[in-house]
């Protein structure tokens, strides 16, 4: 169901290259939006955003009503996708804890799978699956994200909506570009509260079995950091010791296996 089927014919007799028009600044990065109102995007039923995340910056967990493909233009890091009902298969074990002794703290955790990404990777995020990303490199991480609101997995309208489940995205500072500017819908995703904000505090505390104080933290009203936050001490998660050289060696092996192929 592409846009032109619903709205009549697309006006595509003139195409032009487009720059992002809105920048949403956060504590540890910036998100740039292309104007989804532009006829070319409307017709294709897609939208595009670009996250530029500083070193040790984390894009807060959120989910979308559209599937999303992210291209890693620069940098490396790791990400988590919470697929509904999947088990927590990444678990810290006793030896791991031994390693922690120096830190003087017992760090035991189990969570869903963590993936690593590097420049050139494409990562697929299903619609409705909460996800987060972290820049573990020393340089900026640039993620170009393609949101396909014309996809059949999206049952809402043509606007992709990002539902943050943490933080206080509305603290992001918005700067408008020269051309017209993205439609308020797009900006809204990064300029409103997280979903817990709309629930009554007591009910929330009840749902998590925690104090109302902690529930208040869930709602993030006092959080001033925006949707990309800085993690000074680095993010500690349970994940395989995947080193870059090992990956490159594996890739070389794969190429060796198949050899050059004439097309």
């Amino acid at each position: 169901q592409r846009y032109q089927q619903q709205q009549g014919q697309c006006q595509l007799n003139r195409l032009n290259p487009m720059e992002p028009t809105v920048r949403i600044q956060a504590e540890a990065g910036v998100t740039e939006l292309w104007d989804k109102n532009n006829q070319q995007f409307q017709c294709a039923g897609v939208s595009l955003i670009r996250h530029v995340i500083q070193s040790r910056g984390m894009l807060l967990p959120s989910y979308l009503n559209t599937p999303l493909l992210a291209y890693v233009e620069r940098g490396r890091g790791f990400f988590g996708i919470m697929n509904s009902g999947c088990p927590e298969t990444f678990q810290s074990s006793q030896q791991f804890q031994q390693g922690e002794r120096g830190a003087g703290s017992r760090f035991q955790d189990r969570h869903q799978k963590i993936g690593q990404f590097k420049q050139g990777d494409i990562i697929a995020f299903p619609a409705g699956a909460a996800h987060w990303a972290y820049n573990e490199g020393n340089e900026e991480l640039v993620l170009v994200c393609f949101e396909d609101s014309g996809n059949s997995a999206n049952q809402l309208d043509q606007n992709s909506r990002r539902f943050f489940i943490a933080g206080n995205p509305q603290q992001g500072e918005q700067q408008q570009g020269q051309q017209g500017g993205a439609r308020s819908f797009q900006k809204e995703q990064f300029q409103s509260g997280n979903v817990f904000r709309g629930f009554e505090l007591e009910l929330l505390a009840e749902a998590f079995g925690v104090s109302t104080e902690t529930a208040r933290k869930l709602q993030g009203q006092e959080d001033q950091r925006g949707h990309i936050v800085n993690i000074d001490q680095g993010l500690r998660v349970v994940r395989p010791p995947f080193s870059q050289e090992q990956e490159e060696r594996e890739e070389r092996q794969e190429q060796g296996q198949y050899g050059p192929r004439a097309n």
Partner: protein, 189 residues
Amino acid sequence: GIEETICSAKLRQNIDNPARADVYNPQAGRFTTVNSLTLPILSFLRLSAAKGVLYRNSIMAPHWWTNAHSVLYVTRGEARIQIVDHRGQAVLDDRVRQGQVVIVPQNFAVVKHAENEIFEWVVFNTNDNAMINTLSGRTSAIRGLPVDVIANSYQISREEARRLKFNREETLLFTSSGRSSQYGRVAAA
């Protein structure tokens, strides 16, 4: 061919029978789904349905339907329902009672609280294999997050993050300690 399949296809399945429950908590209630896995004809319709029963003073965990709109029809009793959109705004915060219909758009977060009486409802979903993602409980998105991500996301200690993550063991339905309903009543007073 397809015609044969349709002609002999099973067209009916009961979802009121407690024995068919997919999620069951003797204190809180049950939740029964019917989808294209249990009633194959639904894959042609691309629709599914579910039946929920919440006992008095029980809560259905905050959740969202990841791939479907959900039309809720109340068959018995009353409950407080809150629905939140992507801006964190409560687009519905109301007591819904027997005979009323509420539409929960895809991805909108929703919580139900049967405060004073049993609450029974049926939902119709616009996907033949509609999926729920919960925000609290054992199979929730929060549970899938690393403790460190939670601690940093919410600016809380690791201990607090661990509590947030593991305090609620149920998957979907659980009894309330009655704290929020008291709150509700007080507010009303």
